[in-house]
């Protein structure tokens, strides 16, 4: 099994938490993984991405080759399209539709969605709203991860374990919130795929 995943978002939106969850879940299933992160200057409200590679075999490159990613997981609609050259022609985009507008020339939302909906495989969801219903908009990243989770080939309980070990230090209510958000995202995806 191999899964090459591009994670996309804006600095501070929690894509590294998504990466950590998938990473922990993959490790629990004894898979190999490599995850290239972007730190430093681009974190300040800039576009951030992470290459995450899972495989039952040894992985060579930290970077996914262009045109080879299976999935783009994004917590922001414009960012979901930024790395489209990395996606396989029949790859999936899973993205929240909640724009992060910190530039004056942010594109027209409808036009963005039209571009996403042109692709053969996509899941678009109002992650902020679903997260709010779960208790806090802060868990929107876990909603998006949940929506992508059926595509990742990892067990549900592996994610639950990962969430406990990543958010455990923040208290049981934070763990519960994130688990709830993950499940809500997954339910949405299963019903809309």
């Amino acid at each position: 099994m191999t899964k090459d995943i591009i994670l996309a978002g804006v600095g501070g939106q929690g894509i590294l938490s998504i990466a950590a969850c998938i990473g922990m879940a993959a490790l629990a299933e004894n898979l190999h993984l490599k995850q290239a992160e972007v730190h430093g200057m681009s974190q300040r409200g800039g576009a951030v991405q992470s290459h995450l590679r899972l495989s039952s075999d040894e992985i060579a490159s930290d970077l996914i080759p262009e045109g080879k990613a299976d999935i783009v997981i994004s917590v922001e609609p414009m960012e979901s399209l930024r790395y489209l050259n990395m996606l396989k022609p029949d790859g999936y985009i899973v993205t929240s539709i909640n724009p992060f507008v910190n530039i004056p020339n942010y594109p027209d939302m409808e036009e963005l969605l039209r571009e996403i909906w042109k692709l053969p495989k996509y899941i678009t969801l109002d992650a902020d709203q679903i997260a709010r219903e779960c208790g806090s908009v802060k868990a929107a990243n876990m909603v998006v991860l949940g929506a992508a989770s059926p595509l990742l080939g990892l067990k549900e309980e592996s994610f639950a374990k990962a969430i406990t070990s990543i958010f455990g230090s923040k208290g049981s209510d934070v763990v519960e919130l994130n688990n709830k958000a993950l499940k809500a995202g997954r339910d949405y995806a299963v019903n809309h795929m």
């Binding site: 300040r44 576009a47 930290d62």
Partner: protein
């Protein structure tokens, strides 16, 4: 043993903790910062009493590490590539003093300049200094090379460089630990003149350093970090160093790599291995993340031998980091990329955070400078460099750490009066103090803004050596008390701040203005921690 999920930086830190490290020294710099941060956060490291504090700059860090090595203990010093410029005097001469306790210098290069002003290759510094280099291809090697590097350093009595790049530093994977070693006992060098580089001693030790080069090459042939992989197609022989080897392998995931490959992970690269590849094949392709160092050496100036492909003949781009596609193309592969990101995507340039104190400081400076016109603000390395961009467009230079004050001196000498320097608190103590002393001795008509946000902000909020000391330092250097002004950079004090800056701009001597307000990021972090602690109490 359970694998740890570690960044390349963290693998180096864990490797050092496990290999008997006694002290780590560093100044923050992307992509090297996380090495020190990992040791600082490690309970294991603190229970072992490992010294782990930030230094004022890379030179003081390098020298402190050299001192720990002098005393027989294992020391590590970490920096980004341009930090090695700052530490260069100590680094180059440490090859001639040699090491007593194991000494590892980690240099983190940034090809493609993700967070840097150039993409210089630290392997050049090592070659120039006759210092051996270890260049890991993955995080496990990074971990293992720390163990090996300390042993090599002690056995050969020489500092060892570990050279990494951003991609390895900031990429995470599972790493298996080795058995841990105890720290060394305090032990003085056998020869108490070993570190006294008087010409008569330095001459002798320099010859010894030159004599070490052949044994170092033999080490590199036997350590297992340079590997020769057989291949049946002799039309191309490939030299691939560090991460470049991974990109090569990635292109042959589904079929066997037909070409002979020399995988390079340790320098000086053994001549026998290079010669074998050269003799066996019709042409060479050299893959290096960084400058074309091996490629240039293989070509020679006249390039009259076999065909050598790489960055110099256009087979690979001349600059920027490599990736699997670039390497595949150099081998004649064709990639049909079906999807392209649509034209409506906009860039998100990095900018100062909402509520950042620098923003208010530069708005006041901009207004105070209106009567003099644009083009007279020399600045420095830090978050505030972003004020060069819209909407502030306040500054006109960013060259190297500390250059703001000294460039203002030179510009004022040329007649650009007033000239302004804008430097952060951490950058000021890194390399600004000596420049300020020059300005005082020169009585330069410059106004120095020391933007004090009480942290090293750009790299994520590490402790600043300047904390609580800025005014004292300025007074101590000789800036007159009447021309040291502290401002509160807030919108409500804007008019007042403009007035103070205007007054100091008009003063025909050295003024220091200190806009002081804590970094919004570190402040938020502290408040979150406080709230959490309160929650725990309840």
């Amino acid at each position: 043993m359970q694998k740890l999920l570690l960044l390349g930086d963290e693998a180096i830190a864990q490797g050092a903790i496990d290999a008997g490290l006694s002290g780590i020294y560093a100044y923050p710099g992307t992509p090297s910062t996380e090495i020190m941060e990992y040791v600082q956060a490690s309970k294991e490291a603190s229970s072992k009493g490992i010294r782990a504090l930030w230094s004022a700059n890379e030179k003081t860090a390098m020298e402190s590490a050299l001192g720990m090595s002098y005393a027989g203990k294992r020391a590590m010093v970490c920096m980004k590539h341009v930090g090695l410029n700052v530490a260069a005097d100590a680094f180059v001469n440490s090859a001639i003093t040699g090491a007593n306790g194991g000494l590892i210098v980690v240099a983190a290069d940034d090809p493609s300049m993700h967070s840097s002003q150039n993409e210089q290759d630290s392997r050049f510094y090592a070659k120039f200094s006759f210092i051996p280099v270890l260049e890991p291809a993955n995080q496990q090697e990074a971990y293992d090379m720390v163990h090996y590097g300390f042993d090599l350093s002690e056995r050969m009595k020489i500092p060892v460089m570990i050279r990494i790049t951003t991609r390895l530093a900031h990429s995470r994977t599972g790493v298996k630990r080795q058995e841990t070693k105890p720290q060394n006992e305090l032990k003085l060098p056998e020869n108490l003149r070993q570190y006294v580089l008087l010409p008569s001693i330095a001459r002798k030790q320099y010859r010894e350093l030159l004599d070490k080069q052949l044994p170092l090459e033999q080490e590199a042939a036997q350590s297992g970090f340079n590997r020769y992989h057989e291949g049946h197609d002799k039309s191309i022989g490939i030299i691939a160093s560090g991460l470049a080897h991974n990109y090569l392998i990635e292109n042959f995931a589904t079929h066997t790599l037909p070409y002979p490959v020399l995988q390079v992970g340790q320098y000086p690269v053994p001549l026998d291995m290079l010669n074998r590849l050269y003799e066996e094949t019709e042409s060479l392709l050299v893959l290096e993340d960084g400058y074309p160092i091996l490629e240039e050496l293989m070509r020679g100036m006249l390039n009259k031998g076999k065909k050598i492909m790489g960055r110099l003949d256009g087979s690979l781009p001349r600059d920027g980091e490599l990736n699997p596609n670039i390497v595949g193309k150099a081998l004649g592969m064709h990639f049909d990329i079906k999807l392209q990101s649509p034209g409506i995507i906009r860039n998100r340039p990095p900018k100062l955070c909402d509520g950042c104190s620098h923003n208010d400081a530069f708005l006041a400076l901009n207004e105070a400078l209106l009567e003099y016109g644009r083009g007279r603000v020399f600045s420095d390395i830090g978050c505030y460099t972003l004020s060069a961009l819209e909407p502030l467009e306040s500054i006109n230079s960013c060259v190297d750490m500390g250059a703001s004050i000294t460039m203002a001196i030179g510009a004022a000498d040329a007649g650009l009066v007033p000239a302004v320097a804008a430097i952060g608190d951490s950058t000021f103590t890194h390399s600004g103090i000596t420049g300020l002393l020059d300005a005082v001795n020169n009585n330069s008509p410059i106004t120095v803004l020391i933007l004090d946000n009480a942290t090293t902000g750009m790299t994520g909020g590490q402790a600043s050596s300047a904390l609580g000391k800025v005014e004292d330092i300025c007074r101590g250097v000789g800036v007159h008390e009447d021309h040291i002004k502290v401002l509160k950079p807030l919108h409500k004090f804007h008019e007042e701040n403009v007035k103070v800056i205007k007054e100091e701009l008009a003063y025909q001597g050295v003024s220091v203005i200190i806009p002081r307000r804590e970094c919004i990021q570190t402040l938020n972090r502290k408040m979150r921690q406080k709230a959490k602690a309160k929650l725990m109490d309840v």
